[in-house]
Symmetry: C2
Subunit: 357 residues, 2 copies
DNA sequence: TAGCGCTTCTGGATCGATACAGTACGCCGC
DNA sequence: GCGGCGTACTGTATCGATCCAGAAGCGCTA
């Protein structure tokens, strides 16, 4: 039989409450008695108050949940996700809370719902989950603080988020390329369509994106708007969907664009990870980035600098840290619950003027 | 007032137990009633059984804890740790469990102890934590399954671990270099001494390592044994401690060895991350890896292949997956609770024969 | 129609702690 | 000597569910 508070209380000859206080409110009892209690606990092998029981009574768990779309196991593959998580972790640590990673598998929606139901947490952080995912409703119905790691297209007055102006940032990429003279442009992005396949897709416009992660739509909208400054219309864009947000699929997707007869002079990738794949695809074809084909990414992960990738820098760790802080200590002021972070266009060697032949 | 099981039960006019069954054992009641209950729950905004209360009663939480030495926020910086975590995550996901990351800050030992006490989990996975860390005792006293992500030097009969034969693997590195003729050898490692400083250290032998992460000691022992085959004695080794397991500190540490008058012909790093730093240090000094100075790592992280680093390959993801499986479903057979994985010496361009001048 | 087995539902006990109101007691000032 | 006050500790109610023994209802058989 495992020892409980009562076991220790009986051994010392005090009440259960007093033992509880010895752990949770040491100032409520005399040092002598406290020591006696701790001594008895050691002797009996009592590990301290049971976290579950304590949580139930206190109504506080001491952990925050992070929801991921992709299988939990992929959470660690995207450097940007890792940086974000690190920020969340920093906040949680400062607050003495743990981080519960909650799988939200795509194949089995019911499993995700169950996971959210069962998650013992004080709040949820939602990272790149499509707005339609059923688990989100469950998350909301739990009535816990919830912060989105991106700006919802239509933020409610009391919703919390920390994000960037995706469209505006993407616009700077588009207009950068437009100014460099690019007119034949391809875009490589994941989540353009609901299926996980890699290949060209045709869309009537950004609003036609059938998979409802707002980030994708907004970035595409921004790209298009920026490029329009150079007279590039939506129908001029060659869109390739990438099955997953990975370097390998980025390379595969880029192939569809690069192997065309009228090869684009610029390839815009929606994440750095995909962009690195695009660079790989250039390399295997003997094409020079920034010279033969310009390439851009998004996020400015550490590898981007080394690869000389032009990209949008957004403060990933800080974003996570703020998300964590919002969750653990939601500000009274509704305005403070919605945070927009600044972004910068970082121009590196992977973009250059289009060649005049 | 938030709705509870009772609220729903009253609304439908059944007992609390029946509502509970509607969620947890759907086969125990008629489909009609079950639907009625779910309908009422929806109407009342009841999110399903409270995870905390459920855990208390069931005695099962549905999450496993992962303990880290370094601050939680660094858990994501070492690619090897990330791979391992991914494996653990895969197992947890399959089992419908979450992953609770538990910070074990080094500065504030008490905070770590508190974190372990408060962690609502069904088991702990310990990853690279010094055997002396006070939080480990607390972990054990919780009486939960516990699996170490490395082989303890003296495994108890009932302890669980998944690891590799560190010393044997390291020995192959040492003898590889010995065979290539290397006699002036430096070793770059973190955790050689308790302090977090970067610089040369003097030790009487592997057993003299004052920081008790067994892995460090065992790998060093292996290096030494392998090198001894070429007649290199312990006192011939130039040891440099790295403040942290990072690329930058690896480069700094390597500097101490490379800038000596009698520059070593080989530098053995205890992790790939440090080894990449050593390669950086070579590059800034215009030295050729494998030609001027041979360099080895340990772990075979993805970047190692790209860098042409000779290293020890160990199955990181699989290691994590097995750790997770051991935790969630401890085998009856004690022998099956202790898993040793195979390793390979992967020879790449970063090692070569010592130059005869 | 009594007896049996099966499904469906009930109600009290229980998981292990914390909150809070209350008691006991010593000490101070007047 | 007594009210007032602070400190140290107690005891009961409570958090929100699950477990389990048992009751009710129902069909079937002998």
């Amino acid at each position: 039989m495992k020892p409980t508070l009562q076991t220790v209380a009986d051994a010392v000859g005090v009440s259960r409450s007093t033992v509880s206080n010895a752990y949770s409110r040491p100032d409520q009892l005399s040092p002598a008695l406290r020591e006696k209690i701790h001594e008895a606990a050691r002797r009996l092998g009592y590990p301290g108050p049971d976290p579950t029981a304590r949580s139930l009574r206190r109504g506080r768990v001491g952990a925050i949940g992070v929801l991921f779309t992709s299988a939990l196991s992929y959470a660690f593959t995207d450097p940007y996700a890792v940086l974000f998580l690190r920020g969340v972790a920093e906040s949680a640590e400062r607050h003495g809370s743990g981080l519960l990673l909650v799988p939200l598998s795509e194949a089995d929606e019911q499993a995700g719902i169950e996971a959210v139901r069962n998650a013992a947490v004080d709040g949820f952080c939602v990272y790149c989950v499509p707005a339609s995912h059923a688990a989100l409703d469950v998350t909301r119905s739990r009535g816990l603080p919830l912060v989105a790691a991106e700006r919802p297209v239509e933020p409610g007055p009391d919703s919390m988020y920390v994000g960037i102006d995706e469209a505006a940032a993407a616009r700077t990429v588009g207009s950068h390329l437009a100014r460099l003279g690019h007119r034949r442009v391809a875009i490589v992005s994941d989540l353009l369509v609901a299926e996980r396949r890699t290949g060209p897709v045709a869309l009537d416009g950004p609003a036609d994106i059938r998979y409802d992660v707002d980030v994708t739509r907004e970035r595409l909208r921004g790209f298009a708007e920026g490029l329009a400054e150079g007279g590039v219309g939506w129908s001029d864009l060659f869109l390739v969907n990438a099955g997953t947000n990975s370097r390998a699929e980025g390379a595969r997707a880029a192939g569809y664009a690069l192997d065309r007869a009228d090869r684009p002079t610029a390839v815009l990738a929606i994440t750095d990870l995909l962009a690195l794949g695009v660079l790989d695809a250039l390399a295997t074809r003997g094409l020079g980035p920034g010279r033969d084909v310009s390439v851009t990414g998004f996020d400015d992960i550490p590898e981007a600098a080394a690869a000389g990738l032009t990209t949008i820098r957004q403060p990933a760790v800080e974003k996570g840290a703020i998300a964590g802080r919002l969750l653990l200590d939601p500000p009274e002021d509704p305005a403070a619950r919605q945070v927009l972070l600044p972004t910068d266009l970082v121009v590196r060697a992977s973009t250059g003027p289009v060649e005049r032949k």
